[in-house]
Every structure is written in structure tokens, then in C-alpha cells.
Amino acid sequence: MELSKKQEKQWLNPKILFPALKESFYKLDPRIQAKNPVMFVTEIGALLTLLIVLFGKSSSQSFEIQITVWLWFTVLFANFAEAIAEGRGKAQAEELKKTRTTTKARLLKDGIETTVSASDLRKHDVVICEAGDLIPGDGEVIDGIASVDESAITGESAPVIRESGGDRSAVTGGTKVLSDRIEIVITAEAGNSFLDRMISLVEGAQRQKTPNEIALSIILSGLTIVFVLGVMTLKPFADYASQVTGQNLDEIMTVPVLVALLVCLIPTTIGGLLSAIGISGMDRLIRRNVIATSGRAVEAAGDIDVLLLDKTGTITLGNRMASSFLAVSGVRVERLAESAQLSSMADSTAEGRSIVVLAKEKFELRAETLTPQNAEFIPFAAQTRMSGVNFKDQNGKDRQIRKGASDSIKDFAKESGFKIPPDLDGLVEQVAKAGGTPLVVIDNGDILGVIQLKDVVKGGIKDRFAELRKMGIRTVMITGDNPLTAAAIAAEAGVDDFMSQATPEAKLKRIREEQSRGHLVAMTGDGTNDAPALAQADVGVAMNTGTQAAREAGNMVDLDSNPTKLIEIVEIGKQLLMTRGSLTTFSIANDIAKYFAILPALFGTLYIIQGQSQGPLGELNIMGLESPQSAILSAVIFNALVIVALIPLALKGVQYQALEASKILQRNLFIYGFGGLIIPFVGIKIIDLIINRIGLI
């Protein structure tokens, strides 16, 4: 998070600012501008006025020069917004590139080791990495085990274990082996590795327009065409009026003024910021350490209405914890607790430790006397499904304590001829029903009772799900637990639905069912057996700790391997669309004020009645702008400056709150629609006051 805060202000960083300024001029190339119809029209208009200023004869040249300058600024500001967004990505990419260029690879071919450049590696090549080596490319470990520092891509400094076979075999180019030796088979061609794709995505080079962006561009282009027509036809309309009144409007109805009107009316605000919004959406994901394979995936994330979440690690903490001791009748709870604690003293699992801690907290028990010298610890074994301890107590008496699954302990007791308390089954069932796992404790043949092990639901997760529900997103918990346990945890966590005893096939089937009902599904996964489901889901987030197959199948990779991230991804997707929609509304709403600035300026003297100071349409100069020329110039300046003013918003995205759709609409409509109507009236008036005060007109 600290990282992201630093980068939040990064656009003020000179390393990004100055290249972006330079880039703004390079982007004036019409071939680049042509991709954005709104700004292309603006540039043509700016070029036209420039030619007229250079070669035309005009009585108000200073005015026309200023118009021209501001029209060029409009284009430059839009370019600057895009360049800044790209620059932030590039800065991130530079760091990554450094690791790539210097890497050497130890290629293993027919048992002979040669050193080659990492960029020469081909798919299926086998390389060796030892402690201190940089891994030269994406691949799978085929032999050995090593600890790897992946901080270059994850920012996480704790090393991770990579080993052959299983779900931890994938390694990423650019990461560093810290210990041991592994053999890796390369799975990605040079230039197409995970790192390469990440760099090109971050740089914005591979950016393709998303479906919604294309549809929005169509609207903006349509509006632009209509405004071009509107401004072109304004000339004959005015000619008609000047002919019938005998008034000459040529003084004010010049080409630069008409171009100025056009540029003010076409949606330059959203047109200029559109690509910056898209790039920074991707950037926001990356800052949360999530890499999307396409902008389309980010956008789809905003539409997700079903989330499949793995129970362990996402909804609950990874380990179960002892939560209470339930003694059978006739046994004191303290006795049960003491036996349970003794049996767990040497148990280094999280569950075992939690039993010791619980007993200590509840009954202040400390079994410090127990040492390996006088005790024999029985570790958990798959055959017996029990663990425990044998020792001699203070009185020199042998004690044999076991804890384990209810069936195992009961079998153990029956075999030894001990009796089973009649209320044991009731307790066991009670624990299972509440979503816990029962462990039965037997001490020298006496079944004392049950330790309740419970999944611990993560703090705040219930509120999170409630927020999601408000947003219209249904959460489904996936777990391998039995239905009884699953239902209890589902209720506690507040998910909408759960899948118990889920297999990868069942997950895939569930996704298909949801999709056929029209839902968009997101899920997280890490194992190779998750790959089909990850590929099927509309948004599949693979954990970086997962296998190469899983990472290839999903359309996003979470470098932190934090399944809860899915919720943030959804929010970023929504925020991306909201920013576009809000700025579009703002941009269009601005036009009303611009009309009220420019039309009275153009037609203020028309049909003037003798003896009056202004014509009837002059009364519509409701902002009281000083002169026609200052009114037009103020509108153009406002139009250009508003792009710069909104760059931070475009980069950051509009504020997102988990609310119902109708509330969000009301809010954004008020801020950007109503605000968009009012702000330009104020802004243009202020600019008018300033330029008249400093005497620009």
C-alpha cells in the first residue's frame, strides 16, 4: 500500500512529467490523432486557424492568435493526459526491464552446460539455476527445490518455495534463486514471457480499445459529426439574418471563431481523457499487484455478478482454531482442557498450538512440566488418525492421552474395551452442526469430551459481502467440507450460497450453469485442476503462487496471491466505467454554458433596435461577459483548462462507493451532470474577468 501511495503522486515526479511534456508534442502527429476522432477534429481546426492567422488578413489578429494558441493547447493538454498515464506505466516497466536485459542463462543441452543470453532461450530449453542466479525465463521446475525471491514482480520480500511437481512448480523470469539448485524447462518464447507481456501492458503499448470504449467512441464521434454540421450550417443561418437586417456579421463570424465554437461544443473533455482513463484503470490494477491480460478483462470485472470464492484463505483464515472444550457429563471441563493441552504440547500444527493457547486462556493451565525427556509424543498418523502423548505424571503414574476424529477414538476405545459415554455423539454432532470440527479426547481410557475446532472467518468479511450484495453481486463459497459444516460457515460469513464437497469438475459445471442463466462469473484459483474453471470464468484470477497452467488459463494474475483481491478487482472495473460515464456527462452538460457564452457574442447585435445598446439576443449574455471576443476566448480557455484540471480525476478514477445502482446514478448525475451544467458558467465568467483585467483583449 505504501508503494501505491508513492505512485499516486507520481505524475508530479519530474521523471514522468518532463518526458510526458515532450511526448505531448510528438503525439501531435495526425496519424496518432486520427485514432481519436474528437481530438483529430480539434487538431484540424487548430491547423486551420493557424493557417488563417499566418496567411489571412484580419483586423483582430491578436484575438485570433490567442484563439489559435488555446486551440493548440487543447490538443496538447489531451496528449499530455495520455502521456502522463503512459509515463506512470513506463516507470514501472523500466524497473522490470532492468532485470531482463542483464540476465544470463545456463543452458543444459545433452548434459552439457553452456552460458547463453536469456533472450536466446527457446521454448522447451532446459536451464539450471543455483543460489544467486536470476531465473532467465518463465518455466516449470522439473527437478529440485529452491527458495526464490520474487520481490521483483510481487514486491513481497519473503522468499517462496518452488519445487518440481505439484502446484508450486511455476517460476517467473526475472526472479532470483536464493538457495539450492533447480532445473527449469522454459515454457515461454523470449519476448513473450510473463514479464514481457507485463511490460507491454504496463507501457500501454498493447492497449486495445474495450467494447464499452468503442461504443462510447461511437457516441462521441456521432456528437462530433452533428456539431460539425451544426457549426457549418450556422454560417448560412447567420447569412440569412444579416441579409434581412442589412447587418454585417463578417467581423465576428470568422473561421477562427467558428472553429472555436466547434471545439467548445464537441466533447473534448472526455475525448481528451478517454485513453488516459483506460490506461490508468490498468495501472490501478497493477498497483494492487494484479496483472490483467487485457483491458477487456478489467471491464468485464465491473460487470461480475457472481463471485466464486474458495473458503480457505479467502473467507476463513487458513487454519482452524480451537474455540471451546465440551466435556461429557460427569467430567469437569478443566480436566478435559488439561488433558487436551497435554496432548497438544508437542503438536506444532496451528491447530495444536491453538488448543494449548485456548486452555491457557480459559483455565490458566500451563503444562510446563512436560519435557521430551519424560514423555513420548505420538504424532498424527494417517492409519490411526490420532495424535497424543505418553508420559509419567508427578505421581509416577503412566498416562496415555489421545485426541483425534470421533470415529477413530471410538474405535480405539472399543478395541481396548473402554466404555463410550452416551452423550458423546450428541456433542460431536453439535460441533459439526455449528461448522466446527470435533476432536475427541481420551485420557487413560476415559473419554473426556470434545475439543471444538472452528474455521475462523476473517474479520470484516461479512460486511464486505453485504457491500457486494448491495452492488448486486452474489457470493458463492467453495469448500471441500461436508454440507453441514459448509452451511454453518456460509451462514457465519454471510455468503449467499455455498458449494460443499466441491471438486474442480463441479466448479466448472457451476460456472457454466451460472453463465447460461446470463450471469458473469469471477473466480480465483491456483492449482492445475483449477485451470478449466479459470478459463471458463468471465474473470479468472490466478494466484501467482499457482501453477503455470493456472496462470495461463486465467485472464488476471494476482502477484500477492491474495484471493480477497477479487473484490478490489471488481471495484476497479466499475470505477473505470464510472469515470468514463461521469466525464462524458460532464462534457456534454458543459455545452449549454458554452452556447450561452458564444451565441450571444455572435448574434448580440442582430436585429438591433435603434437607440438600444444591444440586440435582443444580447440579453441572453446572462454571464455578463465583457465583449464578444472575450466571451469566445474565455469559453475556449475554459474548454482547454478543464482537461488539465480533470487529469488527476481521470488517473485516480471517480470516487467509488458500494451503493445500489440507483444511488450511484443519483450521486454521479448530481456531481457530474448538474455540476457540469453550473461549473462552466462560473469558470467562463472568472476567466473573462481575468483576461479583461490583464488586458488580453
Binding site: 468503442i214 457516441i219 447567420a238 446470463g518 461521469s582 456534454i588
Partner: protein, 563 residues
């Protein structure tokens, strides 16, 4: 404004609000192919038409064949009316021996009636034979309205069905709309009109001597049957030149009341029919309230402007251009109803309305005839605006836009924009060219901003398929006949084709179930946004033109200057 005016206004609105939901439910049943109380009475006619024309009513069409059938049918209709006018001198039922119509005017009139516009550059009693009016114009009044309803029905199917390419059968929609909706209503309505004194005869014109001793020719004709469908089908083409200001076409205050009601009846009912067809009354009522409030707001401006003190004449409630039989309030209700509903019939001269009332009439049309609008056309035009609004609001709530579970994507937006903006472009271009061409300017009778408004009004009326005239513009010149004819064609078919394309594409999509993250389109907020989008698209495109027309004239009149 007197109590009498207020009562008339309230009664009119009350009856309108009462009848539209009832008729809407009936229309929905007809369009969904259900049996109604009319099936036993008229079912034979429907079957006979299918049999006669060789249509298999269970054959469903994809959007392309639907559009093809529609275009062929309309083209044949155009050709028939065109030829009828060119040859009417040689044909029967022409007691006044009226001569053949020039080719350019025939083109204009044939296009006008085929496109449900009913722009008239001719004067009915002075130019067209009874046969031309009856067989040509009245028939087109029926089928052009039915065509509009058919396109509407196809669009609704596109929204409702899932994952198919079929959007219904054009011939079935056309036949059922005509047989079960338009014919029975017109029949009843024309009989009532005859009872009020609207004429219905084949007699030749009577020459009489007036009290002043002058001679006058009094026309006859099949007025009642044409007037009924002209109002019900939002056609608006009068049998006589002065339209419903003519005493034979609109003799009594009661006939006037009924005709005003008929103007908005089916367009209003179709909104409720829409709600019923998509299975949500709230969807229908939301759109209805949007239309209703925009109409009432315009009517309010009209009333205030017309009844306020006129600084040139020194009194209020000016009767110039209005019928003394009907009065100011009925002229204003009519002028707003006929312009929101793409009807175009008049009972007063819109040119004589105050600048702002005239401006309201103009702006009603400039919004693209989606406030009730033409029969069928108003609803499908409105749905284009709904799609645009859905797209914007979808983005604003952070979710890919969807309408009634259908995703609204690039394809829909492309054609929505095309359908909304093409008529706007035609209006701007036509007005621009005409306001500087001497050939066009010679048709003006008024100077100054009023003359400009005449031109703007003409192109707006044509492109919006309204057909009302501002009067004052001599439109019967080859220039205007052809240019306005083309405007009407574009205004009609460059909207219909995108609508059908959208219907076809929506039909193939899945329906996403709703959740609280889905943006609801049946709420107050959505209604407000929809009104905003409609007004802003209209205002942004036409504000400069409105500045130079009605708005500047309004300010000039405040300063005591008229044109």
C-alpha cells in the same frame, strides 16, 4: 384564461389518461397474437387477407427479410399514389375534372402519405380527385400507421425474445394492426364524426351565392372516413386545405374534442401496450410519464405565452389565425398535441401563434417526435433515446449497459445514434441551404426571423414526419417538393432500418437476470435522465437555429417589433 378554458383542459387530459391504458392493453393483446373480443367478429377478415395474399402467418422473419418486406410494401404504396395523381384526370370520381398533378408534387405527396408525414404542398379540395383521396391517401393513412406499429412490435420482440434471429412476420403485424386496431376505431370514429356534421359524399362542388352577394364554391367529398384515420393514425393530412379548421372537417367543439383525443390516443396507448408486452407495467408508465410531462411542460409554456399581454397589440389571447368556434385553449392543446404526436393536422394557423407557442410546436418536432410521436414511430423513436440513456447511465453506475436484461453494445449504439442523428442532420442541412438560396427564399411570405422559422419548421416537419405546416411558406415549388420529399424519406426509413437492425441484434442476445447492481429503467431517476437526454440532444443540435428563429422573435415582440 377563464374557468371554462381550465375545465376543457382538465376534461381533455382526464379522458386521455383514462382511455390510453385500456386501449393499450387491447393493442398489446393484438400485437402478441392473442385472441381478443374482436377475433370472432373480424377474424375471418384477417384469415382472408393471408389467404388472398399467400402469406403464411406462422413464418417468422429475421430483421433483414422483415425490413425487405416493409420496404417493398411501402414502395408499391408510393408508386400507386404517385401514378394515381399523375393520371387522375382520366380516372373516375373526379366531378370537378381536376387536372393531373405535376410530377414533383405527386412525388412529394406520395412520399408524404407513405411515410405517415402528410405534409401537404397541395390544397385538398382544389387539387385532388375523390378517387385519389380515397384510394390513394386514405389507404396510405391506414397502412403507414400500421407500418409504424409493425416496426414497434418487431422491436419489442427483439427486446423480449432470447437467442433467436426471428422478430416476427411483417405481413402479420401489418394485417393485425390494420384489422383489429385501426379499422374498427376509424369506423366508429367516422360514424360519430358524420353525426357531428363532417361530410361524407361523392357530390360535386356546390356553387352558392353568399349573403354578401358573392358566389362561393362549396366542396364535397369523403371527409369523415379520411378525417377519422388522419387523426387516429397520426397522419394529419386534411381532406381540405385548411385541415381541421375547415367546418366540414371539424364542425363542432365536440368533434374538435374527439379529434384532439384521437391525435394522442393510439400513441399514448402504445406506451402502455409496451409495458404490457415487455411484462412490466412500470416500464410503460415511466416512459408514459416522461412523454406526458414534456408535453404538459410545452403546453404550459404555450398557454403562458399566448395568454400573456402582447405588447404590440395591447391585449392577450390573440384570435388571429384561430377559429372562433374553438377558441384559444383548444388551439393550443391541438397545436402541442399535433406536434408532439407527429400528427400534423391543425385547427389553427401555427404561423399566427405567439413566437414561443410556435417555438414550442417547433421544439416538439425537433426532439425527434418521440413525445408520444407517430403511431408506432413515437415509441420506437423513444426507445432509441432510452437505449442512449441506458448506455450513459450504465457507464455512470459502473456496469456494462443493459436494458431489460439485454446488453447494449457497440452495434446497438451505432444504429441508435444513426437513427437519432440522421433526421437532425437533414433538418440542419435543408434549412441551411434553403436560407441562402434565392430559389428557396422566394417562397417566403414573411421576412426576418419569422421567415427563417418558416423554413426551419418546414424541414423539421418533413424530417420528423410530422406534416404540419407553419403556413406562410409556398412549398409547392419543385425545389421544396423534392427536397422536402427526400427529407421525409430519410426521416422515416433512416430511423426504421436502424430500429429493425437493433431489434434483430437484440433478439440474438441472452437475458441477464436483474440484481440490485442492475440499473433500473423504471424509476424516477431514470425518467429524469431520459428527459434530460432528449432535451439536451434537441437543444444542443438546434439551439443556434432556435436563437435565430423563435427566440429572437420573442425578444423583438417584447420590444414591440413584429414580422
Amino acid at each position: 384564461m377563464e374557468a371554462n378554458d381550465v375545465i376543457q383542459l382538465i376534461v381533455y387530459i382526464a379522458v386521455f389518461l383514462l382511455l390510453t391504458p385500456i386501449l393499450g392493453a387491447f393493442i398489446a393483446s393484438v400485437l402478441m397474437g392473442k385472441k381478443t373480443f374482436l377475433t370472432p367478429i373480424l377474424g375471418w377478415l384477417e384469415k382472408a387477407i393471408y389467404k388472398f395474399s399467400g402469406v403464411n402467418p406462422s413464418d417468422e422473419m429475421n430483421w433483414k427479410s422483415y425490413a425487405k418486406s416493409l420496404l417493398v410494401f411501402n414502395f408499391l404504396g408510393f408508386l400507386f399514389v404517385f401514378l394515381l395523381q399523375l393520371t387522375q384526370k382520366y380516372l373516375p370520381l373526379n366531378p370537378q375534372s381536376l387536372s393531373n398533378i405535376s410530377w414533383d408534387q405527386s412525388f412529394n405527396t406520395a412520399v408524404s402519405f407513405m411515410t405517415n408525414t402528410n405534409w401537404q404542398s397541395y390544397g385538398g379540395e382544389g387539387a385532388l380527385s375523390y378517387l385519389t383521396q380515397m384510394l390513394g391517401l386514405t389507404v396510405q393513412n391506414f397502412v403507414s400507421a400500421a407500418t409504424g406499429i409493425a416496426v414497434f412490435a418487431a422491436l419489442v420482440r427483439g427486446i423480449k425474445v432470447k437467442q433467436t434471429s426471428k422478430i416476427g412476420n411483417f405481413w402479420v403485424d401489418l394485417t393485425r394492426s390494420t384489422v383489429y386496431i385501426l379499422l374498427p376505431l376509424s369506423l366508429v370514429f367516422s360514424v360519430v364524426l358524420v353525426g357531428q356534421g363532417v361530410i361524407q359524399n361523392f357530390s360535386s362542388y356546390q356553387v352558392v351565392t353568399t349573403l354578401e352577394g358573392a358566389t362561393q364554391s362549396i366542396p364535397g367529398g369523403l371527409a369523415a372516413s379520411q378525417v377519422a384515420i388522419k387523426q387516429l393514425g397520426t397522419n394529419g393530412g386534411g381532406f381540405f386545405n385548411t385541415n381541421s379548421a375547415h367546418p366540414f372537417e371539424n364542425p363542432t367543439p365536440f368533434s374538435n374534442f374527439l379529434q384532439m383525443l384521437a391525435i394522442l390516443l393510439i400513441p399514448g396507448a402504445l406506451v402502455f401496450a409496451y409495458g404490457k408486452m415487455v411484462g412490466s407495467f412500470r416500464q410503460g408508465i415511466t416512459i408514459f410519464l416522461v412523454m406526458f410531462s414534456v408535453w404538459i411542460a410545452g403546453l404550459g409554456v404555450s398557454i403562458v405565452s399566448e395568454y400573456s399581454h402582447n405588447s404590440v397589440l395591447g391585449y392577450s389571447g390573440i384570435m388571429e389565425g384561430k377559429e372562433t368556434r374553438l377558441g384559444v385553449i383548444n388551439s393550443l392543446i391541438w397545436s402541442t398535441a399535433t406536434t408532439v404526436a407527429s400528427n400534423g393536422s391543425v385547427n389553427s394557423m401555427h404561423s399566427s401563434l405567439s413566437p414561443l407557442s410556435g417555438g414550442v410546436a417547433l421544439f416538439n418536432m425537433l426532439m425527434g417526435e418521440v413525445i408520444f410521436g407517430g403511431v408506432g414511430a413515437g415509441m420506437y423513436g423513444m426507445l432509441l433515446f432510452v437505449l442512449l440513456t441506458v448506455f450513459l447511465s450504465g457507464l455512470m453506475v459502473g456496469r456494462s449497459p443493459e436494458y431489460l436484461g439485454k446488453k447494449i453494445e457497440f452495434y446497438e449504439m451505432k444504429w441508435t445514434l444513426f437513427g437519432i442523428l440522421a433526421p437532425c442532420a437533414i433538418i440542419l442541412l435543408g434549412t441551411a441551404v434553403s436560407s441562402v438560396l434565392p430559389m428557396a427564399l422566394s417562397s417566403l411570405t414573411n421576412k426576418g426571423p419569422h421567415g427563417f422559422t418558416e423554413i426551419l419548421y418546414a424541414f423539421t416537419s418533413a424530417a420528423a414526419n410530422n406534416g404540419s405546416a407553419f403556413a406562410g411558406l409556398n412549398a409547392n415549388t419543385p425545389y421544396f417538393n423534392i427536397l422536402l420529399g427526400l427529407s421525409m424519406l430519410i426521416g422515416r426509413f433512416v430511423v426504421i432500418l436502424p430500429v429493425l437492425a437493433i431489434a434483430g441484434n437484440l433478439a440474438t442476445k441472452k437475458i441477464t437476470p436483474t440484481s440490485s447492481g442492475t440499473f433500473a429503467t423504471d424509476t424516477f431517476t431514470f425518467g429524469v435522465l431520459l428527459v434530460g437526454v432528449i432535451l439536451i440532444v434537441g437543444a444542443l443540435t438546434f439551439l443556434p437555429a432556435l436563437f435565430l428563429g423563435p427566440i429572437v422573435e420573442h425578444f423583438l415582440i417584447l420590444n414591440g417589433q413584429t414580422f
